[in-house]
């Protein structure tokens, strides 16, 4: 049986592959934990930002504020789409699912900003209107992400588009990541809800304790100006949050994909070993048969 050696060779190569996928699975698991850790360490900053915005609200003396980042407008009729994908492959259907959603929602009013190599490749191949392309390190820092959001804000101020949305993979749990569309600009009511609630609570508390009115803090510069400065930080923060979440999704998707690959490889090795043993036995039986029939011939 000539294919005995072939089977042995295949078993060896499958074993090698499974070792690699196993290692990648472990690396992805570590990176996922790290990505989640970073996302958690973002929280104190985010809640403090809400606090400050809340104080500003309480001291402004009016409920609604006008700022370009808060208003719907219709100047250029364009929408910028920030597509956050991974830099590397081997993470299951993660990028494919996300990009399918992006393409489905595509029309002539969209301009694209790709974050991550996978998104760029697809968008460039489909000859979409790609405004900019960013690549990120494995562990993106706030300043990396700020480069992107600053660019987005600048183009927004120039009036190149009226709205910005993010497509990213929302992290539900290790097994589930959902492609999600998130409107970044105009800043939605949900983002400032906490700040508004804090502000109103503070104002009513101030009214209850003194009749002088809700003036608590001094501001440098004015509260209105300061809030205008603060709003871009919400954009910076939101984008950073989404990038971190995408990273966590990517690593967990890769971990699951690699676990499946390892399991498959193990099953394959099992099947091949069985086949190998069968072939080996068959060849031994054959040999015995040959020897015994030869002996029988001689005995005659």
């Amino acid at each position: 049986m000539a294919n005995l050696r072939d089977i042995r060779r295949r078993i060896k190569s499958v074993k090698n592959t499974s070792q690699i996928t196993k290692a990648m699975q472990m690396v992805a698991a570590t990176k996922m934990r790290r990505a989640q850790q970073v996302a958690i360490s973002l929280r104190p900053y985010a809640s403090k930002l809400d606090d400050i915005a809340g104080h500003l609200y309480a001291n402004m003396g009016k409920d609604e504020i006008s700022h370009p980042l808060l208003q719907k407008r219709n100047k250029s009729g364009k929408t910028a789409v920030v597509v956050i994908t991974s830099e590397k492959g081997l993470c299951g259907p993660l990028n494919t699912n996300l990009l399918r959603d992006v393409i489905k929602a595509d029309d002539s009013s969209k301009v694209y900003i790709s974050v991550g190599k996978k998104g760029r490749q697809v968008l460039a191949r489909l000859k979409k209107n790609l405004l900019a392309d960013f690549e990120l390190k494995d562990t993106p820092s706030f300043s990396d992400s700020k480069t992107i959001s600053r660019f987005v804000l600048q183009k927004f101020e120039e009036g190149q588009f009226d709205a910005v949305e993010i497509y990213y993979n929302r992290f539900v749990n290790t097994l589930t990541q959902v492609p999600t569309r998130y409107p970044l600009v105009p800043i939605g009511a949900g983002v400032l809800e906490v700040a508004k609630a804090l502000g109103e609570a503070e104002r009513s508390e101030a009214l209850a304790t003194s009749n002088k009115g809700p003036i608590f803090h001094n501001f440098e510069p004015d509260a209105d100006v300061l809030l205008g400065k603060l709003l871009p930080y919400y954009v910076h923060l939101e984008l950073y949050e989404k990038i971190l979440e995408s990273r966590a999704s990517e690593h967990s998707a890769r971990m699951v994909a690699m676990k499946n690959a390892t399991d498959n490889a193990k099953q394959l090795v099992k099947d091949l070993t069985l086949e190998y043993n069968k072939a080996r036995q068959a060849s031994i039986t054959n040999e015995i048969l040959e020897i015994s029939s030869a002996a029988a011939m001689m005995a005659k």
Partner: protein, 136 residues
């Protein structure tokens, strides 16, 4: 003596938390010293040096732009990034400056790349400034 509770937060981590005697902040409208019983104030910060004074010792941090919330007993600083003077490696910062300057000189950068490089140049220069001042 009364102390201030100082907290410095960046998106990546909590850089500093503790009681201090006074703080010097790089405010958008000029540097300001903050002592306990300061009036409540919210202000914008520029990139610059933040001095923490405690028990006669001064600690200097290089911070990015951000915001500060001051009350009679607390100071909360929100900033893009903060580096302790002790952790600044002058050589590394100098190399970063050189790299950024070279890139800017070569004029091949455009748009957002140019901006990012200028920003990183500014950051590194602040860091070097902090280190040098401390030494002289």
């Amino acid at each position: 003596m009364a102390t201030l509770k100082l907290e410095i937060l960046t998106p990546d981590a909590k850089i500093f938390e503790g009681d201090v005697d006074s703080v010097l902040l790089p405010g958008a409208e000029g540097d300001m010293g903050v002592l306990p019983q300061h009036e409540a104030l919210i202000t914008q910060l520029n990139a610059g040096e933040l001095h923490i004074m405690h028990n006669g010792k001064t600690e200097i941090l290089a911070i990015g732009e951000g915001f500060a919330e001051i009350t009679a007993t607390t100071v909360n600083v929100l900033t893009d990034g903060a580096v302790n003077e002790k952790d600044i490696d002058e050589k590394v910062a100098e190399e970063a400056v050189k790299r950024a300057e070279d890139l800017l000189k070569s004029n091949t950068l455009e748009g957002e790349e140019l901006e990012a490089t200028q920003a990183s140049l500014a950051r590194s220069l602040v860091q070097i400034g902090v280190k040098r001042r401390r030494r002289s």
